[in-house]
Amino acid sequence: MSTSAIATHGEIPVSTGRPRFTLAQFGMLVFLASEAMLFAGLIGGYIVLRIAQGAGSWPPPGAPEIGVKIPPTFLNWVMIINTVILLSSSLTYHWGESRMRKGGSGLIGYVLTALFGLIFLGVQGWEWMHLKEEGMWFNSYGIYGSCFFTMTGFHGLHVFLGFLAILVTVARAVLRQMKLFSGQAPNPSHAFEELTGYYWHFVDVVWIFLYSILYVL
């Protein structure tokens, strides 16, 4: 048994068909597994800390309420809409990509994505400032402030990096668009867009988790 696999001579495996992933895509997916563990660490820590607070002390007395209420408060609405915006940015991105694959430039899709990303970051920044005015910051209300700002901060940083990448895709789309006008063949490599897409969708999925545990639960 233990000999069979290494003792077989001669046969050379042939890879059949079109590869599912390019090298870069494969690498990106593996890398995202690592990113997922980063957030898993943060989220796991949050869960441990919050359970340890004991029942009834969440949020701590006097702290601004960020959890979703029925009926939703103004802040709730803002973040719900912000969430919808971020999630739709995945759709617009996907749309841009599919236009691009069909030979278009995908410019509108990418621009919309960039716009949505920017709005998300802006609203997030507004929320931070708003909470800060209400007296909640990294160092207030014990771990309530610590967790909220650290986790949304880490995520925001990722969104920001993704946003930068999307600006590049926009620029590339502009180039492609110009070539379209001038009648030349579009840039055949979509690698950058594909990788950015993976990353951007990942960041969105992370937000679903963060939104659920920070705001809803």
Partner: protein
């Protein structure tokens, strides 16, 4: 049955260890080899498992190293002799996977049984409660007075002024007395420890007690208990890195006959403690 195993174990061990193990009963200063003497009840169990594993690993080590040396000598390269061509053997593979699985699981199960005895069972009701709260770099110790009960303590109430986090309203605490860095345990009586910390993690460690337990701020552990079976003077060591003074954060610990303990305790004035600061709201330690 267990005793039989234990005796046999110790017998073989005695043969193997020769002089080393006889040094046990001596006071530490005279013996630099092997374990210090054990003075607690659970120490026997711990030492027993220790010796079981020692024999197991010892025998395995001798076997593995003998085989290795034998192979090294026997199969050294010699002109004209070629190596055997073998990719392995599944029967062997199964055997040497199966046996360790069996041994290790047996060890884990037996060990955990003892662990359950030591840590998961509630300490005896007549145990003498003693609270030890570490701080950089010393020990706050609290003993019950005549009522044999300590004041109610909450970890979240521990402050600089109220190191034990006691509840001032609790009448049980009125006759408690405290010491700093000095512990006296009556021999042959169960002692239940309440372990906590004011600042960073410290640890309660006495090698002769075969006892180590971290003392974590924000919590008061009440599951450690022990029974010392011999009298003597010991040093309580902080064995969790706690800052620059860590290396000399020791305490005085003596195990004395019951009568002597009572005399000692009587000589101590009750200190209900500066309990006035206590409040029900968790006290936020100022950013130190």
């Amino acid at each position: 049955m267990l005793n039989l195993i234990r005796h046999r174990t110790l017998f073989f061990l005695g043969m193997g260890m020769g002089l080393l193990s006889t040094a046990h009963a001596e006071i530490r200063q005279t013996s630099v080899w092997w374990l210090p003497r054990n003075v607690t009840m659970f120490g026997h169990e711990i030492d027993f498992i220790f010796y079981v594993i020692l024999i197991l690993t010892g025998v395995t080590a001798v076997a593995v190293f003998s085989v290795m040396i034998y192979f090294i000598v026997k199969y050294r390269a010699r002109p004209g002799v070629t190596a055997v061509h073998s990719h392995g053997n599944n029967t062997l593979e199964v055997i040497w996977t199966g046996i360790p699985v069996f041994i290790f699981l047996a060890l884990a199960i037996y060990g955990n049984e003892q662990w359950t005895q030591m840590r998961l069972k509630t300490p005896p009701a007549d145990a003498l409660p003693v609270a030890v709260i570490g701080e950089q770099f010393g020990w706050n110790v609290r003993y019950p007075g005549a009522d044999g009960k300590l004041a109610k303590m909450t970890a979240s109430s521990v402050t600089k002024e109220n190191p034990f986090g006691v509840d001032a309203a609790d009448p049980a605490g009125l006759d408690d007395f405290t010491t700093y860095g000095e512990l006296v345990f009556p021999v042959d009586r169960p002692i239940r420890l309440y372990l906590g910390s004011k600042d960073v993690i410290h640890a309660f460690y006495v090698p002769e007690f075969r006892l180590y337990q971290d003392m974590v701020p924000g919590r008061i552990y009440d599951f450690v208990w022990l029974k010392a079976e011999q009298t003597g003077q010991f040093q309580l060591a902080c064995n969790q890195l706690c800052g620059q003074g860590h290396y000399k954060m020791f305490g005085k610990l003596s195990v004395v006959p019951q009568g002597e303990y009572e005399t000692w305790a009587k000589g101590k004035a009750p200190q209900p403690t500066a309990a006035k600061e206590t409040s029900t709201v968790p006290v936020v330690m100022a950013d130190r």
